[in-house]
């Protein structure tokens, strides 16, 4: 948590917009984590918009916000959700190991996208961003369709407490961060 709370991104209000709009309860791990996926997607879209407009300074800031949000999501999973899933199921080399490997893969794209923005290379950014977008979404599909429902089932006894802890972590930036 110590590291996580130092990351500055956007207000929690923005990251909860979709769940409020859809009227979805924040009661399950699936809903909580899925909503955070969508919030990260919105931050990604904001980077694309600034790059398309040629506003490299705003793009740099938006990219930092997106990278921070994604990193926070990964860390919440890697340090809180996955360890509990692994402890309860005993699947330490199973689905969570695959998800961790995909996180590592996605982190390399964040660097490539930032480098393209620093160099003012819109085409390079577009190619890296599109590849990351598809990578993220196929990863999210697996989590949302398979892993999160498994977490809701297997972690039923501690679900509410775990959801509250994850919620605090994911929205830590709200209390310490600034808007994009």
């Amino acid at each position: 948590m110590g590291v996580l709370t130092r990351i500055k991104v956007v207000p929690a209000s923005m990251r909860k917009i979709d769940s409020i709009a859809e009227g979805a309860p924040m009661s399950t791990l699936s809903t909580l984590m899925t909503d955070d996926h969508r919030a990260c997607d919105h931050l990604f879209a904001r980077v694309e918009t600034h790059v398309a407009a040629g506003d490299w300074s705003a793009a740099r800031t938006a990219m930092r916000n997106f990278a921070d949000a994604l990193e926070l999501h990964f860390r919440a999973e890697e340090t809180q959700l996955f360890p509990r899933f692994e402890a309860v199921t005993g699947f330490s080399a199973g689905p969570t190991a695959v998800m961790r490997a995909e996180h590592a893969e996605m982190r390399t794209f964040l660097d490539a996208m930032s480098a393209a923005i620093d160099a003012g290379e819109a085409d390079d950014f577009g190619g890296e961003a599109e590849t990351l977008m598809i990578m993220i979404q196929q990863h999210n599909m697996k989590e949302e369709n398979i892993l999160y429902p498994m977490c809701d089932d297997r972690l039923a006894l501690e679900r509410d407490a775990l959801a509250a802890a994850l919620d605090t972590t994911l929205h830590a930036r709200a209390t310490h961060g600034v808007a994009a």
């Binding site: 979709d18 709009a21 859809e22 699936s30 809903t31 899925t34 969508r38 997607d41 919105h42 990604f44 879209a45 904001r46 694309e48 918009t49 398309a52 407009a53 199921t89 699947f91 199973g94 689905p95 695959v98 998800m99 893969e105 490539a112 085409d123 577009g126 190619g127 890296e128 599109e130 590849t131 977008m133 598809i134 990578m135 979404q137 196929q138 999210n140 599909m141 697996k142 949302e144 369709n145 398979i146 892993l147 999160y148 429902p149 498994m150 809701d152 089932d153």
Partner: protein
């Protein structure tokens, strides 16, 4: 496949060649459809000419069904946790059956040869049944996890729709080839087969995919929850009621159900367009635009079916068929191919530990954009030929250009993929 790791791991990713073989052979049937239009120029005058039936099956089976089954082999593990036990073997057998079936069926229609029709239907039946059995077996073995999305359920319903469409098609071929099909008037049997194939198979598959693909890849709000929960089961029930009414000759009920089904199909397309209009992505690419055109074509095609058409030779059914088959499903599958194929090339290189170029280096935007513009022009020409059949050969030329271009684009990605494989890797590339 370990039960501990259902559909999540790299080991659940089928070999590239499993879906790729379908994607690479599909455009050849589009090219054949173009050639047929050149040779038999006036075939768009009616939906009942042998040439039209051949043309429809070149596009519906050779192109669309081919891409849909290839894509399903790839996406079933990811979106539904259904991992085929032997994806490569399933792909090989399904691919052979489907291709021989599509060739036999269309040749049988075009040349009026019952033996070719029966042979084609046998191969197609075996190929699709093999796929359905493999998917059903994997679905039974898949861990029972409550999923948030309705996509897995709707994919299963779509596979049910494919089964019904296949059985109705086989019955029709038995009737045409041996005079031993179901005891139904030919027009009724054809309408049943076409509607189950287009709506309960292709329509449900498109909707099930859209529930996840549109919000996630195009960054739109989620579809209305009630739509995703009820649309596919409602369509299936309405379709069953319509079928019973049609067979029992209860015309008022059949007409009412038919209007409801047209409303459901149009509603799906219109709501998808509305969702896409709310996309947060500020730079819609060619694939996104093509998907929107496909939705417009689907809505227009479905709406056209609502027009009363006094005779079978009327233009309306032909125009509706062009809009739905080529504009709607053809456009949507092409748009998806441009997302799927470069990403799979990237994914398989990355999984092999090779530094892969990004998807836009594997397939430059300009190539996809130009091909999809040709697709739009081909659709316009086909519609013109639907109104003025002598324009058929021009539409044929446009179809050939469209599908040759698509083939070249796909081959471009494959060549880039192979160029990045180490030499030793080439020898172990699955056939």
């Amino acid at each position: 496949m370990s039960g501990a790791n259902p559909g999540l791991g790299y080991d659940a990713t089928p070999p590239f060649s499993a879906p790729l073989r379908f994607f690479l052979t599909a455009p050849l049937f589009g090219i054949a459809a173009g050639l047929l239009l050149i040779v038999d120029g006036g075939l768009l005058a009616s939906r009942w000419t042998p040439g039209t039936l051949a043309l429809v099956h070149l596009l519906a089976v050779g192109f669309l069904l081919q891409i849909m089954l290839g894509a399903l082999i790839q996406i079933l593990p990811v979106v539904a946790g259904i991992t085929l036990t032997a994806p490569l073997r399933t792909a090989r057998l399904t691919h052979i059956g489907l291709n021989l079936g599509a060739i036999g069926l269309t040749a049988g229609f075009q040349f009026g040869r019952p033996s070719l029709l029966l042979g084609g239907a046998t191969f197609l039946g075996l190929g699709v049944t093999g796929f359905l059995c493999s998917a059903a077996l994997a679905a039974i073995r898949a861990p029972k996890t409550r999923m948030a999305s309705h996509t897995p359920r709707d994919l299963r319903l779509a596979l049910g729709g494919l089964t019904v469409a296949l059985l109705l098609g086989l019955s029709l071929v038995l009737e045409l080839g041996l005079g031993r099909g179901a005891p139904l008037p030919l027009a009724v049997a054809v309408n049943l087969h076409a509607t189950w194939a287009l709506l309960d198979w292709a329509g449900l598959l498109l909707a099930a995919t859209s529930w996840v693909v549109v919000p996630m890849f195009q960054i739109t709000p989620a579809y209305p929850a009630r739509l995703t929960r009820y649309w596919a089961p409602t369509v299936t029930v309405l379709l069953a009621a319509w079928s019973v009414a049609l067979v029992a000759n209860v015309t008022t009920l059949a007409a009412t159900m038919s209007v409801c089904l047209i409303g459901a199909a149009t509603g799906f397309a219109v709501i998808t367009l509305r969702q896409q209009a709310r996309s947060r992505r500020s730079t819609p690419d060619a694939s996104f635009r093509a998907f929107r055109l496909a939705m417009l074509a689907l809505a227009a095609g479905a709406a056209l079916l609502a027009f009363p058409h006094p005779s079978d030779a009327d233009h309306w059914p032909v125009l509706a068929g062009i809009l739905i088959l080529h504009g709607g499903f053809g456009g949507a599958t092409s748009a998806m191919l441009y997302k799927i194929v470069p990403f799979l090339a990237w994914l398989h290189l990355t999984q092999a530990g090779i530094k892969a170029p990004n998807v836009k280096k594997l397939l430059p935007d300009v190539r996809a954009r130009t091909q999809l513009r040709v697709h739009a022009a081909a659709l316009a020409t086909l519609l013109a030929a639907g109104l003025a059949p002598p324009l058929g050969p021009v539409a044929g030329i446009m179809l050939i250009v469209e599908f040759v271009f698509l083939q070249l684009n796909l081959v471009h990605v494959v060549r880039k993929w192979r160029a990045h494989l180490p030499r030793a890797g080439l020898s172990v590339t699955p056939a």
